[in-house]
Symmetry: C2
Subunit: 330 residues, 2 copies
């Protein structure tokens, strides 16, 4: 009766923040969401985080005494051990925000702090497609490419909170594309949703085809990578863009397989709506490029938790903190 | 008196094997070496390993009862948890060699088994340039490029014994060079000692200069990367080859910094004889390519243990095994 352990996870994004109460088996009891409204400043932002956490607890119907710890995941440059967001490009004008301390002081509960890519990876590892594996690498494919690496229950945060910046590993030297980060040849400049659209536009300029299906897709008001993937069913040029994207992602996967050699490589984010055939193309390229043993044995999968991965993973980090301080609870 | 703990490390290479007795503080009491003579077959090879271990113990003057465990490091494809070398390109015609079991049965001591790149990384971490860091990535620059990753006392072996195959991460897609492994665009195809000589020969063909310093260097009977580095002092083309090599190695370093984000990146192997100016070039490229925080804080260093790193690291793995089974000994 008194033995129920629940954890609140909060995933702060540039547009909205999502929270949920998660049980000891990675099952969310609820999920709630509020707009981030970063422009209103970081004091507002910190209060909004607490509001979202409170709303999640209320919505779940959990008793406060069953909530053992809170986990918060945020984007941007950060100092994970210090619990601080430093200078997040997606949360301007926030700067040096002491997230962990603030949330801890408000709720008086042990509070974990984690990068959002790392948290999503931990979510898929703890309660998603990676349930049962020992190690996992996650690529999140969105506007940019984020990542997370889990080895044996441990998040690879890095010594300077820069672990798993997988979108910013370099895959091209001769004709490197410039990345949003200002550097050159990054995986993100090739295979993020933004890059897919950019490459499609360039291809259209280069190869013509103004009246093509791809041209029509790109003429939409708000083009998404999804539109390019849809166009690929009927358009040769779009098909080439998609095929190249699968190849680039396979290069990213193989590089991680030859570095970490995980049980599983997981792709997440809006782009996985492209479905099974796209995943099959990635797998084929991986098999062709990796050493035989990892090529045959590493599972290449899509994520399962969708946009819940971040808060579930954050709750998982909270649980780890709780178990560390209460070893008997394990 | 009865509390001395010593460990034997053995590093098996394609040409010779080196062993030493190492104390609890990573200090070798001695180092001995015997030719591997792989061509004489794996039974001979296993006996030669035991012979080298025996010779190390004799040479050190250690009492047998003070030797608590043995560690063996080998090259090639392997199954680390099983303690088996599978199909090592540098130890032909060996196949499926049960190294750990054999050595264990002969000496009746706990026996650790590790990949040679991993062992060298652990050596530098435990007793070399990385003493005191929490995490470290090692690149060994020789005929090929090997590697090792240590995070918090743990060797990242990978789930299929393919962790830290750093020479076979892909850095080029547009005009990829073919690697010795048969694949394309691998770091090893650009920055190993073999690749440096190959690129120098190609450059000479492309740009002429038959009477140049570089041409003279390449006309030697047994050219080493060292000759290209020496020529660079007086030859523009050789200088370009060296400069490109520093850049390629920096790409490798940055990719690991954006993946593992270690405290330290270490370069080892014959090529570091190139000295301080070459290391400075690598560091400058790293600073230009990495994110500001890791660029400023990650230490980029040369290894310190030379060809002793492998057996010292193997002894360190033996010590870990001993401490795991005798926690009170720590």
């Amino acid at each position: 009766m008194g033995n129920i352990s629940l954890f609140v996870g909060l995933d702060v994004g540039g547009t909205s923040m999502k929270a949920g109460v998660v049980d000891d088996n990675a099952r969310p009891l609820c999920a709630v969401s509020l707009p981030t409204e970063a422009a209103r400043g970081q004091i507002f932002g910190l209060e909004r985080m607490c509001e979202t956490i409170r709303l999640a607890i209320q919505t779940s119907g959990a008793r406060l005494e069953d909530v053992k710890a809170i986990g918060v995941a945020t984007p941007g440059t950060m100092d994970i051990p210090a619990g601080i967001i430093l200078d997040p490009p997606n949360l301007q004008p926030w700067k040096n925000v002491p997230v962990r301390q603030y949330v801890h002081d408000v709720f008086q509960l042990p509070t974990a702090f984690q990068n959002d890519g790392n948290a999503a990876a931990f979510g898929e590892y703890w309660g998603g497609v990676g349930k049962g594996v020992r190690s996992l690498v996650l690529f999140t494919l969105g506007t940019g490419i984020g990542g997370g690496i889990i080895i044996g229950n441990q998040v690879i945060e890095g010594e300077h909170s820069h672990g798993a910046e997988l979108g910013h590993t370099k895959i091209e030297m001769t004709h490197p594309r410039q990345c949003g980060c200002g550097r050159w040849g990054c995986l993100e400049a090739y295979a993020s949703a933004t890059a897919v659209i950019k490459r499609a536009r360039e291809a259209l300029v280069e190869h013509g085809g103004k009246a093509s299906v791809l041209a029509a897709a790109l003429a939409k008001q708000e083009v998404g990578a999804r539109d390019i993937f849809l166009a690929a069913a009927k358009d040769e040029l779009a098909r080439k863009i998609v095929e190249d994207t699968a190849y680039y992602l396979a290069v990213g996967a193989v590089n991680l397989m030859h570095t970490i050699d995980p049980d599983m490589v997981v792709f997440a984010g809006g782009m996985i709506a492209a479905g099974k055939p796209f995943l099959e193309r990635i797998r084929e390229h991986v098999r062709a490029m990796a050493f035989p043993v990892p090529a045959a044995r590493t599972k290449i999968c899509y994520a399962r938790l969708g946009s819940d991965a971040g808060f579930i993973g954050a709750a998982g980090c909270a649980r780890q903190l709780h178990l560390r301080d209460n070893p008997a609870a394990n």
